[in-house]
C-alpha cells in the first residue's frame, strides 16, 4: 500500500510537470475534437500525430497520445447524443437512449451525465491500473482463442437482449452484420471474399462507413420526409443543462456497475471496450424495474455504457504497460511510439522506467479531470447547436461525415459505401429493424471468426473445446441464460403488448 502511494506520488510529480500538463491538455483537447468530428477515428489521428511526437520527450509524447485515446471516448458520445452518429464503435450504444433524451429536450442532462460517468469511471480504473495492473495481466493470458470466441458469442447475445423490438428481427440484424464483416480477405489464405474484384473491398468495409451510413445518413433521410416544423431534432422544450438530483440518484448505480464491467472487459485484447459498453447497457436494462423505458431516453441507458467504455479505455493500458502486448490498434501505435523513442515496451518498463510508467498513470487521472472541466461548460455550446435550423445543420453534418470518411483512406469509394449504407439504414428504420445489433455484430464478427478458426485449428477440428475449457464454457452458459431471458417475453408476448399499449 505504501509502495502504491509512493509510486503514485512519483507519478504525479512527473505528470504535474508544466510540460507534461501541457501535453496532457493538448491530447485531451485533440481527443475531444476527434471524438466529436464524425468519421475521424482515433487510430487515424494517433497515426497522423505519431511523427510529430518524434521530437518530443518520450513521457510527454506518450501522455499526449494517451490523452487523445481516452479524450476521444469522451467526445465520441457527443455526436451520438446530439445527432445520433456514433464517433467510435464504443459509443454506438450511447445513441440508443442519448439521442432520444436529446429529442425529449434533455440533451444537456445526457451530455453532462456521460461526462460525469466517464470521469468517475476514469478515476476508479486509474487506481485499478495502478494497484492491480500486474496481477490482472494474467487474466489476458488466460484467454485463448476458444475463450475469445465464447466472449464474442456473449457479446452478440447482449445485442439481442438490448434490442427493444422483436427478438427475431434483432437476430436477423446480427446475422446480417456478421455476413457484412466477412467481406474482405480471408485470414488464413488471403483469398478475397465477397469483394467482387473491387480493390477497395479487399481489406473489408470500414467501421466508420457502416456507422455513418446506418446512423447518420439514415437519420437525415428519415428527417427529410417529415414536415418542416417537426424536422427539428428537439421537439420538446430544452430543459436544464445539468442533470437534476433525481437524475444523479438514478444514474449512480448504473455508473458504478458500468465502471466495474468496463474495467474487467477492457483488460481483454480485441473488442473489450465495445463489448463492455453493450454489456453495461444490457445489464442495466435487465436489472431495471422499468426495462420498457430503455431506448426511449432513460438516463441509465447513457450513464452505464459511457462509464463502461471509459473504464475499458483506461484498463486496456494494462496489457500494454505490463506485457508490452497491444490489445487494440491504438495501443499498437503506442507501442510504435515507444519504440521510436527507444523504449522497449514490456514488463521491464515498470521497473526500469518507473517515471514513465507511473507518470502515464497519473496523467490519465489528470487528463480525466481536464476532460470534465473541458466538457461540462461545452455542454451549453453543444445544446445551442441543436437550435441551429435544420436546413443549415444537416447539410453541414453530411459534409463533415463525407470529409471524415474520405480522409480515413483517401478513398472516394468509402464515401459511396457509406451512402449505400445510408439507404440501407433508412429501409431498416422504416421496417423497425434496429441498426445497433448489426453494427455490434459487424465489429465483433471478424474477432469471432478468427478465434473460432484458431480454436478449431488448435483443437484439430474438435468442437467440444468450447465446452471443455472452463472459462469458455462459463461464458457460453451465461450467453444461453441471457438468450433464454430474452426469449421469455416472446413466449408471453400477449401480455407484453398489452403492457406497451397501456403505457402509451
Amino acid at each position: 500500500m505504501t509502495d502504491l502511494l509512493a509510486n503514485l506520488a512519483l507519478g504525479f510529480s512527473v505528470a504535474a510537470h508544466p510540460y507534461n500538463i501541457g501535453f496532457c491538455l493538448i491530447g485531451a483537447l485533440v481527443g475531444t475534437l476527434v471524438g466529436v468530428l464524425p468519421g475521424v477515428g482515433t487510430v487515424a489521428t494517433v497515426a497522423m500525430l505519431l511523427p510529430i511526437t518524434f521530437g518530443l520527450p518520450p513521457v510527454g509524447a506518450l501522455i499526449m497520445l494517451a490523452g487523445i485515446y481516452y479524450g476521444a471516448q469522451y467526445g465520441g458520445s457527443t455526436t451520438s447524443i446530439l445527432v445520433n452518429i456514433p464517433g467510435e464503435a464504443t459509443s454506438v450504444v450511447t445513441c440508443l437512449d442519448g439521442h432520444q433524451m436529446a429529442r425529449n429536450g434533455r440533451a444537456g442532462a445526457a451530455l453532462s451525465i456521460s461526462a460525469i460517468g466517464s470521469f468517475f469511471a476514469g478515476c476508479v480504473s486509474t487506481v485499478l491500473v495502478a494497484a492491480l495492473g500486474a496481477p490482472l495481466t494474467g487474466l489476458a493470458l488466460l484467454f485463448g482463442p476458444a475463450e475469445y470466441f465464447s466472449l464474442m458469442v456473449l457479446g452478440l447475445i447482449f445485442a439481442v437482449v438490448l434490442a427493444k423490438g422483436s427478438v427475431l428481427k434483432a437476430i436477423a440484424m446480427i446475422l446480417a452484420g456478421l455476413l457484412l464483416s466477412m467481406v474482405g480477405s480471408d485470414l488464413e489464405t488471403g483469398a478475397g471474399r465477397m469483394t467482387f474484384d473491387i480493390p477497395e473491398l479487399s481489406d473489408g468495409i470500414g467501421f466508420a462507413n457502416v456507422a455513418m451510413g446506418l446512423f447518420g445518413f439514415a437519420e437525415i433521410i428519415r428527417n427529410l420526409e417529415m414536415s418542416a416544423e417537426s424536422r427539428e431534432i428537439v421537439n420538446a422544450k430544452i430543459s436544464g443543462l445539468m442533470p437534476t438530483r433525481q437524475d444523479l440518484i438514478d444514474s449512480s448505480g448504473a455508473i458504478a456497475r458500468g465502471t466495474i464491467l468496463g474495467s474487467i472487459l477492457g483488460i481483454l485484447p480485441g473488442g473489450g471496450a465495445v463489448v463492455a459498453s453493450f454489456a453495461a447497457y444490457t445489464f442495466e436494462k435487465r436489472i431495471s424495474r422499468t426495462p420498457e423505458k430503455f431506448g426511449r431516453g432513460i438516463i441509465q441507458g447513457v450513464a452505464a455504457p459511457e462509464a463502461a467504455n471509459n473504464a475499458a479505455a483506461q484498463t486496456s493500458f494494462i496489457p500494454l504497460l505490463t506485457l508490452g502486448i497491444p490489445p487494440n490498434a491504438v495501443m499498437a501505435l503506442m507501442v510504435g511510439a515507444m519504440t521510436i523513442h527507444g523504449i522497449v515496451p514490456g514488463p521491464q518498463v515498470m521497473t526500469k522506467q518507473p517515471e514513465l510508467f507511473w507518470g502515464m498513470i497519473a496523467s490519465m487521472w489528470l487528463g480525466n479531470l481536464m476532460l470534465v472541466i473541458i466538457n461540462l461548460p461545452l455542454v451549453g455550446v453543444w445544446v445551442t447547436l441543436l437550435r441551429v435550423p435544420y436546413r443549415l445543420l444537416f447539410p453541414s453534418i453530411i459534409v463533415f461525415c463525407c470529409i471524415g470518411i474520405y480522409s480515413i483512406n483517401n478513398s472516394p469509394t468509402d464515401v459511396l459505401i457509406a451512402a449505400v449504407f445510408g439507404l440501407v439504414g433508412y429501409w431498416l428504420v422504416k421496417h423497425d429493424f434496429e441498426p445497433a445489433p448489426m453494427v455490434l455484430a459487424f465489429v465483433l464478427g471478424p474477432l469471432m471468426e478468427e478465434n473460432l478458426r484458431r480454436a478449431m485449428l488448435i483443437a484439430r477440428g474438435d468442437a467440444t473445446v468450447f465446452a471443455t475449457r472452463p472459462i469458455s464454457a462459463g461464458l457460453l452458459l451465461v450467453s444461453l441464460a441471457l438468450l433464454t431471458l430474452a426469449l421469455l417475453p416472446m413466449i408471453r408476448k400477449r401480455r407484453d403488448e398489452v403492457f406497451v399499449e397501456s403505457e402509451n
Binding site: 497515426a47 489476458a140 488471403g190 506485457l323
Partner: protein, 325 residues
Amino acid sequence: MLRLLSRAAFGAFVFAAAAIPAAAQDFPKRNITMVVPFAAGGPTDIVARIVGEHMSKTLGQPVIVENVVGAGGTTGSVRAARAQNDGYAIIMGHMGTHAAAVSLYPNLAYKPDVDFEPIGMAAGTPILIVTRKDIPAKDLKEFVVWAKANNDKVNMAHAGVGSVSFTSCLLLNSILQTKPTQIPFNGTGPALNALVGSQVDYMCDQVVNLVPHVTGGTIKALAVGTAERNPALPDVPTSKEAGLAAFQVTAWNALFAPKGTPKPVVDKLADALDKALDDPAVRKRLLDLGSDIPGKTGRGPQALSTLVKSEIERWAPVLKGTTIN
C-alpha cells in the same frame, strides 16, 4: 474510366519528365513522400522514419512518411509503382513486398525487379526463432527433434499470410521438412500474446518485436538467422552455432523509386540514404532496435538490384503452393 484517366495522366507525365531531364539537377525542390506500405509504428515504419529524418537534412527538403496499408503491403507498392517517376514519391519496400510477393500473389500488379529503380538497402531486422517458455526442448537441436516427432501436434503461429513471420517460418519448415498446423493471427501482437500464453508452440519474427519478451523470460529464443549474434540478445546463438546453418534470413527494408526515375535523382537519393546510414545517431537508434545496417558494399542501387533478383528466386521454392488471389 478513372483508371484510364490516371493512366493517361501518368503517360503524359512520363513524356514530360523525359522531355526535361534538366529538372533532375535542382532536385529536390519540394517535399519528398516516402510511402511505407505498412502501419505506422511497425518495424518497417520505424526504419523509414529514422532514415527519412536524416535524409531530409542532406536533401534540404522534408521527407514525409505516408503509410499506405493493405493487402500485405502490396497496396502501397502498387501506388508507388504507378507514382510520377520524378523522385518525389519513393517507397520503403521490404522482403515481402519486393521479393516474396512475387511468389505469393499470382496477380501482383507490379514486378519488383522491373517496375522500380532501386535506391538502396536501408536496414534489415534479423529473424528470431522463438517458442513458448514451457516447450520440452532447451535448444534448437532438441526443438528440431521434438518438432519432427510431434509433427501433427505442433502449432506454428504467424502474423498473417504474406507477413515476414509467415514467410520466414515457412523457410524454417522447408529446411526441417515439417508441416505444422499454421495458426494465423492479425499481426505480431496477437500472435505474440498467444505464444506468451502458451496457446501455440513457436513462431519466427523480427528481433525488434521479441527482445523484451525474450529478456523477460516469457518466451524462449532458440536461434537468430544471421551470421553473427545480435547485440540486443547476446546470449542467443546464431542458426549456424545452433546447428541449422541453412536458416539465414533477414527482413530487409530498402528504398525504391518508380521505374524511369532519372539516374541523377536516384543517385542523389542513394547518397542521402548512404549519409543517413553513416550518421552515428542514426546508427545508434537502429542498432538499439536490433537492426542490421548494411556495410558499404551492401549499399546503393547496384547491390539492391542484385539482392532483389536473388531474393525473388530464393522465395519461389519456399512459398510454392502458397498463393493469395
